[in-house]
Amino acid sequence: MIARENDAEVAALRRALGQRRGRDYWRSLEEFADTPAFQRLIEEDFPRLAPLWEGRVTRRGLLGLMAASLALGGLTACGPQPPEQIAPYTRRPEDLLPGRPRWYASTLPLDGYARGVLVKTFEGRPVKIEGNPEHPASLGATDSIAQAELLGLYDPDRSRTIRYRGSASSQGAFLEQLDRRRSRWAREGGLCLLTGPLTSPSQRALIERLRRRYPGLRWYRHAPLDGAGDPDPRPAVRYRLDRARVILDLDADCLDQGPAKLVHARHVMGRRHPDPQRQDHGLPNRLYCVESTPSVTGASSDHRLPLAAPDVPLFAAALGRRLGVPGLAAADDPAGVDPAWLDALADDLRQAGDGAAVIPGRAQSADLHRLALALNQQLGAVGHTVLPAPPLTPADGDLPALAQAIDQGRVDGLLMLDTNPVYSAPGALEFADRLARVPFSVHLGQYHDETGRAALWHLPAAHPLERWDDARAFDGTASVLQPTIVPLFGGFSAQQVLAAFDGDYRADARELVRAHWRRQWPDDDFEGRWRAALQRGWIEEAPAAPAALPMPTDLTVPVAADDGLVLQWRADPALHDGHYANNGWLQELPRPLTKLTWDGAALIAPALAAEKGLRRGQHVILERNGRRLEVPVWIQPGQPPRAVTLYLGQGRTAVGRVGDGVGVNAYRLMPASGALQAGGLTLLRTDRFSELADTQQHHRVEGRDVLKETDLDGFLEDPAFARPAHPEPPPSLYPEWDYPGHAWGMSINLNSCTGCNACVTACQAENNIPIVGAEEVRRGHEMHWIRVDRYFQGPAEAPETRFQPVPCMHCEKAPCEYVCPVEATQHNSEGLNDMVYNRCVGTRYCSQNCPYKVRRFNWYHYTDTAAKLATPAAAHNPDVTVRSRGVMEKCTYCVQRINQAEADARNAGRPLRDGELKTACQQVCPTGAIEFGDLNDPRSAVSRAKASVLDYAMLGELNTRPRTTYQAEVRNPNPAIREHRDPASDDPEAPA
């Protein structure tokens, strides 16, 4: 049931891998893949058998299964335990103690930007990723994607071999071919490089080296999420939102997108602790959000304005006019926007002065970025909340430019590093056809993906957790990626490939990175600084001279385009640009606003749905410029009426068993420029339907005592509004239980929660929660222990959105416990609602009687190694039991962490300190919305949080006495804007 028995095996494998260091390291995989240990691991972890619950069961199969299940079920209890073996190390690595985790500071890049992480490993096997509290882009938090990188590491579908024209080949053959071309490139040029956004100092240095060797080298950058490339690049800006009092988000989703999202979330939402006593009432900022697609930021904002993407620059210009930005006097208000709203916003921003910040969205045009910078300049925010950022990737051109070069026959060799243009190039570019015309194309990627298949050569890339590399954070801080495991499937780093192109065929990945930094620190104690960097997770450098922000001149007033339907492409909140499509944790992650998993859909406004007579899941054909795409629709409250949004990242065809064939590829409709919004869309209704796999079917609170909220005025009037009318606790016939030791409890601050889902994935990673697949989600069988409920209030066209994370409440009078016939769930002496899997017989009565519906059931054997979506055993947390079929499970408050922390404290002979112990959801939360600790300690953070006047128990009138309570939400709207919050109009049912 547990992954522990595999530890020794993995350790053995790792040792086998570990011997192939140094020179051997850079050599082909074929011979290695033949070792029996490797074969065994692969077969056990990644079997090819289809899962039972998805496949059709044959007669023989069924009988066999029945026999097996009877044997499994009945007989294991009858015989003595089967024998097991222990394989100790032959030589134990220094500092490694079997059974004790080791932590490594490392870095995970996203879009090239670094996020500092700490990786927990057991016997050389990474099992959990946490944020690095000292890293400026993490502050201790991570997002869902960073959490899910762990699963990506063990993904059995990752590329394992060098391939030539699709078939396995060898490194020697590759180098031979490469060698033949190098001299010509040096003479005649013709070598091109295609990367994503790239901040790695060592890679950039290697590229510079290549430029010297091949003077004609052209470097192209493909960043599908950044929209159309621009001759005049957008200003590189970063924000200090901890200094901001009024923030205007212009379609930026600044809390959930971009390299600084975790920091933004902490600085904007993490500071909201309403308190009538404080001068700013504990609400230090006000967030306005103008957005083209409902997002986490819009949901968290105090004022939200839905606006189709092309109208956002008009909005910014109209605001600029009000603020007196030169050159914008002629700007008109965009249609449909209340001028009074704009006036109030302008006043608010003006009052904030240098405490204002206007943030443009990355998907928006460079024009908007310049406009926003002008607004910030006008407000006096530049230098205070708006600072220059390190320059963007210094490439020579974007993907359309590369396409042009290919057309002109100027590309002889093309090296594509960690990018997948065949999938993510705009459909209009027909990049696959063009790539076929490149004589020598090389793809380095983690998957033998669409581009890998189209390229002449494919090289497997090492996963960020397996390779030496470096990257910079949004603010320029450099940090090192240090491998926590030797590449499982071989795999090269970009540095190695770049060095090979430079003629260095035997370069060591580690040395390539170190060499760069050795050059940076010529005089210093290099080893000392290097060690410090590895230990801390980031590199201490002399701060670069502050570059001045180039102030935009000659702003042009944007003009309104046609008012027809607009198609918008946005990063998928989980799959990002599609790179993570084979990651089951992310595919199954309910997207924050739609609560959709797996399936892709076109988001349309309720008004558009009504106009076209569309129902949820009905297929439409989207047509633009002669390209058509059939996709089901999702009716999204708060979507601008004329805007249709497609999330990028689905419709993969060559990524693996998880991601292939899920959803549609939205890049196919994109204009050649790569712009992320375009008009000229027609929408044709069809009669086909899909049942979409969403995890929440009902979107209104229905007046139930679940969410409590008010605005600042209401709060000041009645600070105790969240307290129940009746005395607490209600009287009981039963005597009270004592909790003399620890009494664990949790407090969730709804003011801070952004609904970003990081807690969901962190919990999944920590607690070995299985992936169930789209069909199972459709049937309501999803397994997440913590879910983020999303409710809409107010009119469907512009609703207010509320999030509420719901883990187990650990009720002191738990209704689940007294109905269990076998004591599989009851209370422990510290107030936890325990769940004993090995005692559970699966009556499911506990779930029936749980008013919060937080329990999850293993309807099938999801963790069967034969299951298609089973998490590889190596990725399991060895401290948490892996649950088998027929067993109930639920949030345990990370009891394994509690036990470990208590044991560690006792071993050290000291009491457990507050804050020493964190649950997975608490630790990952970017805004610190979750507090957990000992309620018997009045000074603990959780006790203080629960002492807040805002503290309330969900469904408290049931007298379940939950240990998890919430802090009611207080919004901070602009008193000058009274456009919303009329509970009487709180009805039109969200489209069903």
Binding site: Y734, E817, Y818, Q826, H827
Partner: protein, 176 residues
């Protein structure tokens, strides 16, 4: 008689005559009497002097024992490994009453059934009475009276006459 005799078996045309005969023979001091009828006949046990209340008594005793035992088991189990279950007391006796009741009903049921079987001497597939072929009518429409030879006042000749007087249609000697 060379053969040992089990008793005399007489068939009567109806229940009333059987009752009358039974009462008469009993008043004559015969004790090892038994009547056989296709269905329960009111008054017949009294006529035969059968007054046995052991079946309901056993049922009652079994019910009380089973109920008490079950309750004791539940309380013992709760104390053996005490748990905090939903914040309820360790011994939540009101909740234990339902199983207690169910088990006392089981006690009564089994007590009644098995005391009936055992007191009747079942199982006893062989019995001398079956040696009389016509005895099968007892489970169809025949009313029989049997006087066992073991009775100290057994006298085959006199009994035969007496039975006939009471209207017995036929009298058999039942071989042992």
């Amino acid at each position: 008689m060379a053969e040992r005799l089990h008793g005399l078996l007489a068939r009567f045309p109806d229940a009333d005559r059987l009752i009358a005969a039974s009462r008469d023979l009993r008043e004559c001091g015969l004790s090892r009497l038994d009547a056989y009828t296709p269905h329960p006949v009111a008054g017949l046990p009294e006529a035969l002097g059968v007054r046995d209340r052991r079946v309901p008594l056993t049922a009652l005793i079994c019910a009380v024992l089973a109920g008490a035992g079950t309750l004791a088991l539940q309380i013992y189990a709760s104390l053996d490994y005490p748990f905090n279950v939903g914040g309820k007391p360790v011994v939540s006796w009101p909740a234990y009453m339902i199983v207690t009741f169910a088990m006392s009903m089981v006690g009564a049921t089994l007590g009644a059934l098995f005391s009936m079987l055992l007191l009747n001497g079942f199982p006893r597939p062989y019995h001398p009475l079956f040696n009389v072929a016509e005895f099968d009518a007892a489970s169809r429409d025949g009313f029989f009276l049997c006087v066992e030879a073991a009775d100290p006042r057994f006298d085959a000749e006199r009994l035969n006459q007496r039975l006939k007087q009471h209207g017995a249609e036929r009298v058999w000697e039942v071989p042992a």
